[in-house]
């Protein structure tokens, strides 16, 4: 019995090895250009990562080829799951490099992007951040670009919005302990809010926490006018649910992570005021949306990855734009070599669904406004509120 098992295991290992060797061996060459999709597909940010990938997949289905230097290349997306975890970042990144990707897209979540940054740098492969908003992703990195706005901007936008719309005097911030995205955004929100004369209380919940009633009571007892909770959707769902059952009617504000179906589903039918800042407002481009939705509805896996319905998340749209930005950079470079693309990227411009993408000196897209939208709890849909700038 044991011997048979041992043999079976060994054979499986060898097969696996050859499969990898074979699979990656014949990777480059031919008329294929590979784009690495460096996204979380599991872990805390798995849901967001999947939606971002959807955008890229859709874009790939819209335009599966690219013409570079008169030659037609088939664009192949190569995926690596970074499991929302920094300690898996290097090997996931190496996998993409090993597969011969010319450019990398991602990741959802700034921490994993920063963690893989040096690996991409050493390999000389440019990366385009889609929705990673932490300034450190691109700061001091010549190879990392991004097409979204940054946390200092987003935090300030939300602080301004809290002041202007709700006349907030006291804000309660809640983020996950050990999550750099949450803590970073809260930090900028706090700076801006205090500059506006607000009183800010910050608290953090430990990973794996599911009881938020005490935090909500704390917010209530602190006399908060708004709760700013830019955490990942798994926790957001619990916060929404529990503030409804606790009867806490303080408006909930959050950043781009909350722009997700998960939030809509959780908030449906509840008496809550939830407002988020994001990259894109659904309904801004009807043609694009209807075909995107048709594509999502056409495949059950896609539908499941989008959270079970066809509401477009802004990250999906950003993923779509990122894909085309990458193609634009290749066309501009006139080459599929990573080094050429990296050289071409700073001057690449692309007008996407979410607006014009143009990189500044640090490699960040020049964005001066964010979309603020609010949950219509009756219809479980997003409602446009405002386009808000810093000033």
């Amino acid at each position: 019995m044991k011997k048979v098992l041992a043999i079976v295991l060994t054979v499986a290992m060898v097969l696996a090895l050859t499969a990898c060797g074979g699979g990656t061996g014949k990777a480059s060459g031919g008329d294929v250009v590979k784009i690495g999709v460096y996204e979380p597909q599991s872990g805390d940010n798995g849901a967001g990562g999947k939606q971002e990938i959807l955008g890229m997949q859709y874009a790939n289905s819209v335009q599966p080829t690219v013409k570079i230097g008169g030659k037609e290349y088939k664009v192949e997306l190569v995926y690596a799951d970074n499991e929302s975890s920094n300690d898996k970042a290097v090997s996931a990144a190496s996998q993409l490099i090993g597969a011969g990707c010319s450019v990398i897209l991602g990741s959802y979540g700034s921490g994993v992007s920063i963690a893989a940054s040096d690996t991409f740098l050493e390999a000389g492969i440019p990366a385009i951040g889609v929705t990673c908003t932490n300034p450190q992703v691109t700061e001091g990195n010549s190879h990392y670009f991004r097409i979204c706005f940054l946390d200092p901007f987003q935090g300030t936008v939300m602080a301004n919005f809290a002041k202007a719309t709700f006349g907030a005097k006291t804000a309660y911030c809640l983020g996950q302990l050990g999550n750099d995205y949450d803590q970073g955004l809260i930090n900028y929100f706090k700076q801006a809010a205090e500059a506006l004369g607000m009183k800010v209380t910050t608290e953090a919940f430990p990973e794996g926490n599911s009881d938020f009633t005490s935090y909500l009571t704390n917010a209530k007892n602190a006399g908060a006018d708004v709760i700013f909770a830019p955490c990942s959707t798994s926790y957001a769902q619990l916060i929404i649910e529990q503030s409804a059952t606790q009867g806490v009617s303080i408006p909930l504000l959050a950043g781009d992570t909350w722009d997700s179906n998960v939030i809509l589903n959780a908030a449906a039918g509840k008496n809550l005021d939830i407002e988020v800042s994001t990259f894109y407002q659904e309904g801004a481009n009807a043609d694009f949306e209807s075909s995107f939705k048709a594509w999502i509805n056409g495949d059950s896996t896609n539908l499941a990855n989008n959270g079970g319905n066809d509401t477009l998340a802004a990250v999906s749209v950003m993923g779509y734009d990122a894909y085309f930005t990458a193609l634009a950079a290749m066309e501009k470079a006139g080459s599929i070599a990573a080094a050429d693309i990296m050289k071409a990227l700073p001057d690449t411009t692309y007008t996407g669904i979410t607006g014009e993408i143009k990189f500044d000196a640090t490699g960040d897209a020049e964005r001066d406004s964010a979309v603020i939208k609010k949950v219509n709890t009756k219809d479980a849909a997003w409602e446009f509120v405002a386009v808000q700038g810093v000033n």
Binding site: A16, L17, T24, A89, G111, A115
Partner: protein, 389 residues
Amino acid sequence: MLTEKKDKTGLFIGAVCLAVLYVFLILLDNVIPQNSFTLLLVPVLKKGAIYSLVCVSMNLLNGFTGLFSLGQAGFMMLGGYAYAIFSIPKDQHAAVYQYFDGGLIQFSIPEALSNVLGESAGAIIGSIICIMIAGIVAAAFAALIGIPVLRLKSDYLAIATLGFAEILRAIFQWSGLGPITNGSNLLRKYTSLSAIKIGSLKLATFFPFFIAGISIALIVLLINSSYGRAFKAIRDDEIAAEAMGINLFRHKMLSFVISSFFAGVGGALLAMFQTTIQATPFKSAMTYELLLIVVIGGIGSISGSCIGAFLFIACNEWWLRFLDNGSFMGMSVPFFRDGFRKVVFSVIIMVIVLFFSKGIMGDREISFAGLARRIRGSKPSGGKEAPAK
């Protein structure tokens, strides 16, 4: 007195194998052209070496001293942080500690040494010093934690050490300590493996093997010394050990502190490998993973832990990744989608645990002396390399 003498041939073969490995690693970094295979191989090798060290240190505690401790990830975290904090260059402080006004500790050992000794020497010596600091910090914490928890027995010790690791993690993520630990945010821009080179000779893969090799050699020497025998005596029968004059608390503490020292060194190497460090991944799941490796390799076997570490890392992060991609050798397979790799992987682990409960090596060691004897055609007699039971 025959077996007392070191078998010279065995030692020689071992040394040659090690030398060949090290030369290969240096070639891998410098001469062998990068291709899709080496690109995947190199990170697995690096991480495998680091995990080997950490698992051997865990084996020292759990396998050789019989102390069931689950705090290893916590000590790795301490080491990783200590390393990073003391090696972030001065001009990067403002960027790294962006929310904490550039942080509290305003010097970098590798940088300071680079100014004196030149860049590559400074980076190498500086990072080695920081690795030592990492080990010492972890060991110091272990000594503090050990005073209360080592009085506890078996499962209670396990749960208390696990608890301490979780407490440490919360403290490190606390924004009150932000100026030192950067709170919930990453530490980065410190001296990483790619900075380890002599002139243009890259040592990025060699270095973790080198440090892990020395550390494991030290642990092996310790295990084969009088103290190592005392540890094993405690594992086999605490009451008899105490009756033979072995001070339980002192020896358990020694084992705990030494194990933590090397876990700290491993943590520092992991930080170098990852190029960024954050407290989040160092949770109990990581300790469980290490424990699984130790068991798969064989509790009480150093070479088993090393083999286990490489196999585990390779399977987890390389060989089985194709299971996630939806196709196998060009064919698309219905069950293959993301997450399937982990299912298969955990089934393999269960099979090993259930059907090969002694692990790959049991409590034996790979012995070059035995190998030499086998080559010469005589049977191995007694000693460590023969099956113990």
